[in-house]
Amino acid sequence: MSASDLLFHLFAVFTVACALGVVFNKNAVASALCLLLSLVGVAGLFVLLDAFLLAVLLVLVYAGAVVALFLFIIMLLDMQGGDRKKFTKATVVSSTLAGGLLVTGLVSFAQRGQVAVAADVPVVGSTLRSYAEQLFTVYLLPVQIVGFLLLIAMLGVIVLSKKFEGLDDIK
């Protein structure tokens, strides 16, 4: 086993273990910290794929800012987790179904999936320049649409969270 294989296994196990920690932790702050570690593990996997920019952006945006905001909100609202809701029949059935589908998909992909040969895949994202060129030429429209979607979501949050007393407040 080469060094990068070993690192892959390390990071993969670390990521999944931390992801499980997010789900099973009773304490909201501990969950958020597990999410942080899980993101760092994913960044490590990106580095193994030579996608340095993605790894750095993942740490910068998600680990650095988004999880910090999560923690900020958890602390501000003083959420302590507390007792979990009991599962209802509907959730048990639907989650088993979804989990089964996911496992089937993964198994079938592992057995029969055609992974493109490296030569067929254009090298995109390994250097900043090629990344930027793709982003501003081929993928310009999707990027703009996603950006617009985020803007709408942000406006929606502001509208929903702001308390409007009467018609005058909307103006």
């Binding site: 952006l57 680990a63 650095g64 910090a68 923690l71 900020f72 602390m75």
Partner: protein, 392 residues
């Protein structure tokens, strides 16, 4: 001379280099705290620590011997050098209690977590340069990545967690408020900081070149021949430099932005419940942040290891005939760079003892309503100017 070193396995070499850099960076904190006490004393017109003197016998014998040398010993005593050793001893040997009401695991984790970003960011900062055998200028750095500055920002942004965790795990009022303030403040100023450096990279990444965010290349573009090639970016982009510096103060929690700590209204903020060694770890991290932050400021806006504007380091090496001695050249470059960084450490302290602390609402107003629009306007203005220059 150093062939044996380059024959070592790569992993071992990297380990040695990393250890060497951390060994230089870590012990910077005690002298910095000493300098802080002395500078604050000078600014406030008092002598500062000048009495401590080790006993000649005892476990500090080597220090005691130096102290008994007639003139030098007294001079060192007046400078407060021995106070440093006394402080170090105190932090190490003092009882380190963990209060009963804290969340123990996270309480211990927080100071340790504060060291991670403080020590990893330095891996992406070049300290100097030398001519290799082929006559090419190569950086003295642990890594010279394409994404250099982004990596520094990414790792630096993890610094907020130690403050949040410390505040939350302490499980009492003032630390909690400090932690919440820290998270809000650091996120707010990160935006202006990132936006303020974009004009520099717009200029560095001229069309046709290979896109890069490497800090070494930023210094290279400030050391070209000609009037515009040799100017430092602090002169051509003063607004960017100013925004970056202000945001740097906020990101390192230095006064006037030390909201998370804020002795006057929060006792000690996030570190109220901490003492002894754990407390000192937070400050080792803070000084390491200051050093790395000032280093990045020098690289981006003050020409890195170039001695003067319009005088590049490579020219200096040729004039003074040390271009063919890589070791000497590297050391001089590091010396020049550290001198600039040292000035900024002094500047940090100077500001701390000159300006009063902001109120929290003023900090937020400054970040979101002044610095952020200013940095966006600055970016657009420079984008237009650079586009005009490039298409001329």
């Amino acid at each position: 001379m150093f062939d044996f070193y380059f024959e070592l396995p790569l992993l071992l070499r990297l380990l040695l280099q990393g250890t060497a850099v951390s060994l230089v960076l870590l012990p910077r904190a005690p002298p910095c705290s000493m300098a802080e006490r002395k500078i604050s004393a000078w600014i406030q017109g008092r002598p500062g620590p000048n009495r401590t003197k080790p006993p000649i016998a005892g476990f500090l014998a080597p220090l005691g011997l130096v102290a008994s040398i007639p003139v030098l010993g007294t001079a060192l005593q007046k400078l407060g050098i021995y106070q440093l050793a006394a402080d170090g001893g105190k932090f190490t040997f003092k009882e380190d209690p963990i209060p009963g009401h804290v969340n123990k695991f996270y309480f211990v984790l927080a100071p340790i977590a504060s060291m991670i970003p403080a020590l990893t960011t330095v891996a992406f900062v070049p300290f100097g340069a030398y001519f290799d055998a082929a006559g090419k200028l190569v950086p003295v750095a642990l890594t010279n990545l394409d994404v250099g500055l982004l990596a520094v920002f990414a790792l630096g942004s993890l610094g907020v967690y130690s403050l949040i965790l410390a505040g939350w795990a302490s499980n009492s009022k003032y630390p909690f408020l400090g932690g919440v303030r820290a998270s809000a403040q650091l996120i707010s100023y990160e935006l202006s900081m990132t936006l303020s450096v974009l004009p520099v990279f717009l200029w560095v990444n001229a069309p046709g070149g290979q896109g890069t965010l490497s800090l070494f290349d930023v210094v290279q573009t400030q050391s070209q021949p000609g009037f515009w090639g040799g100017t430092w970016y602090a002169m051509t982009m003063p607004v960017s430099a100013f925004i970056f510096l202000v945001a740097l103060f906020a990101e390192t929690n230095r006064q006037p932005f030390d909201m998370p700590e804020s002795e006057a209204d929060l006792v000690g903020g996030f570190h109220t419940e901490y003492g002894a060694f754990k407390w000192s770890l937070f400050f080792v991290a803070e000084y390491a942040h200051m050093i790395v932050g000032s280093g990045i400021f020098c690289l981006l806006f003050l020409g890195g290891w170039n001695p003067l504007p319009w005088v590049s380091f490579a020219d200096l090496a040729h004039w003074l005939h040390f271009a063919d001695k890589p070791l000497l050249m590297g050391l001089i470059a590091i010396g020049l760079f550290l001198a600039k960084v040292g000035f900024f450490i002094f500047f940090f302290m100077w500001v701390r003892w000159t300006l009063p602390r902001f109120r929290y609402d003023q900090v937020m107003k400054l970040g979101w309503q002044k610095l952020l629009p200013l940095s966006i306007a600055n970016l657009i203005a420079y984008a237009l100017v650079i586009a005009w220059i490039e298409t001329r």
